[in-house]
């Protein structure tokens, strides 16, 4: 048995040597795993929160049977979805049908790679940064990845071979292209103020005051466009039940159906995190004695509650109104805001 221990020893030495020489690689991988797992495990909690809050908003109880306060409900739902039969219609395009939910979830998680959570700190002589990657054009990366997320819905609509799905896919692509403009243009005024595309720099520029104080209009536009981008009520036209059954995911069952929802909730978290970073000062606590990451999490949590609050308050708007609102009201307001911001910046703060 000597040769086995020999091989194990050599392997172990190699692993230790490799890890010692590639500490950044190890740290990066661990961070990636932690971020991905954390994001995915936020989803069930968010579903529970949404159902409980919606219940309260509509003067009913919400789920309260499984466990204390209905906390076991997400678990029960997951088990149910896992054991459901996965039905694929014979007329569907099999490959694209399987690809669509994967695209939705992958793009949703990938966008989180550049979202920073706090200042770097030191452990065992290693500087641990609280972000996956500090790309020098982080915000563009988020927009690019969330732009790719459209394909999940488009492919689901195309491959299902179902009129309602097709309509849902059409609607989602038109809606997301239209509102992406507003999203980008309102973020542009923040880019003008900080002079950088890196999300970390944007947070550092807000150390004295959050940008919502100087850019209230941009904040409003960004948040509205963000709701439309994540396909949340009152802009959830791609999945309007009364008109389209369930929109692009009509034909999906079981876990593939759940993956669309996972994508939607992760996008909601990403959007809240982006609004926090751009307008609410990120992890800056402005004198309150809390950890940066707690400050960040509280702001994101508050925005998520606002998302749910809006959903239970406003009725769904009509489709043509949605397009008119996007192109004829939000976009001109964005351009106006951008013009005023750049003029003020050039004249008073050159």
């Amino acid at each position: 048995m000597d040769w086995i221990t020999e091989i194990l020893n050599v392997t172990w030495n190699f692993i230790v040597l490799f890890l010692n020489e590639n500490i950044p690689l190890v740290v990066g991988s661990v961070k990636a795993v932690i971020i991905a797992v954390a994001i995915m495990s936020v989803v069930p909690a968010l579903v529970w929160l949404e159902r409980r809050l919606m219940g309260r908003f509509q003067v009913r109880l919400g789920p309260n049977r499984v466990g204390p306060f209905g906390l076991g409900q997400p678990m029960a739902d997951t088990v149910k979805l896992l054991f459901k039969e996965s039905i694929i219609q014979s007329s569907a395009d099999k490959f694209l049908f399987h690809l669509a939910p994967a695209v939705v979830v992958i793009t949703a998680i990938a966008a989180f790679a550049v979202i920073p959570f706090g200042e770097p700190f030191e452990v065992f002589g290693q500087t641990i940064e609280m972000w996956g990657a500090n790309v020098n054009s982080g915000i563009l990366f988020v927009f690019a990845i969330s732009g790719m997320g459209i394909y999940g819905m488009v492919l689901a609509g195309l491959s299902s071979n179902n009129k309602y799905s097709l309509m849902g896919g059409l609607r989602s692509s038109a809606q997301m292209i239209s509102y992406e403009l507003t999203l980008g243009l309102s973020a542009l005024s923040i880019i003008l103020l900080t002079g950088s595309l890196s999300l970390v720099d944007m947070v550092r520029a807000q150390e004295t005051y959050p940008f919502i104080l100087v850019q209230p209009l941009a904040f409003l536009l960004f948040f509205i466009a963000g709701i439309a981008e994540t396909n949340r009520a009152p802009f959830d036209l791609p999945e309007a039940e009364q008109e389209l059954v369930a929109g692009f995911h009509t034909e999906y069952t079981g876990m593939k159906f759940a993956m669309f929802f996972m994508g939607e909730y992760i996008n909601m978290v990403t959007m809240s995190a982006l609004v926090t970073l751009l307008f609410l000062g990120g992890w800056n606590a402005y004198g309150l004695p809390v950890w940066p990451i707690v400050s960040f999490a509280v702001k994101v949590f508050f925005l998520l509650c606002v998302f749910i609050w809006l959903r239970s308050t406003f009725p769904r708007i009509r489709y043509d109104r949605l397009m008119t609102f996007g192109w004829k009201i939000l976009l001109p307001l964005c351009l106006l805001n951008l013009m005023v911001t750049s003029t003020v910046k050039v004249i008073w703060f050159p």
Binding site: S137, S173, I177
Partner: protein
Amino acid sequence: MELLIFYPLAGFCVVLALGVVLNNSPVGSAISLIGMMLGLAGIFVLQQAHFLAILQIIIYAGAIMVLFMFVIMLLNLKEGDDTGWIARERNLLLSVLTGLLAVGILYKISGILFTAEMDTPAILPDSFGTVATIGETLFTDFVLPFEVASILLLAAMVGAVVLAKTKLD
């Protein structure tokens, strides 16, 4: 390391480009083209052109291809009703000629290319390919083309609206 990334990526792009041309369903072609554009964005990153890579994803893969998908959905094109091949009996000669032409072009170009002398990239400053550098060049040396491009886009926008509208009033 660059070699290790470049060749798989280049192969990926070429295979997907062939997929665009040879696929029978327009949806399949569009998916291949999206994949190819993402691969090209990877190649741009390899060449340190980070801003162009992101533009490639946002504009090409994120907007132009969505437009293609949108039209494919609008016209409701499916696999069966696509007869878009030239290579039928009466056009056999033509397709052979096309193939010969393609091979000829590739042969001619490759003959010129392998005499190219530059084997190593220039020593690049850190600012190469960033938004700041490109913006500076764009708004100093290339202001006129930039403005012309904006007018072109405006004209295209108006043109698209006029063409796609069912009835003008």
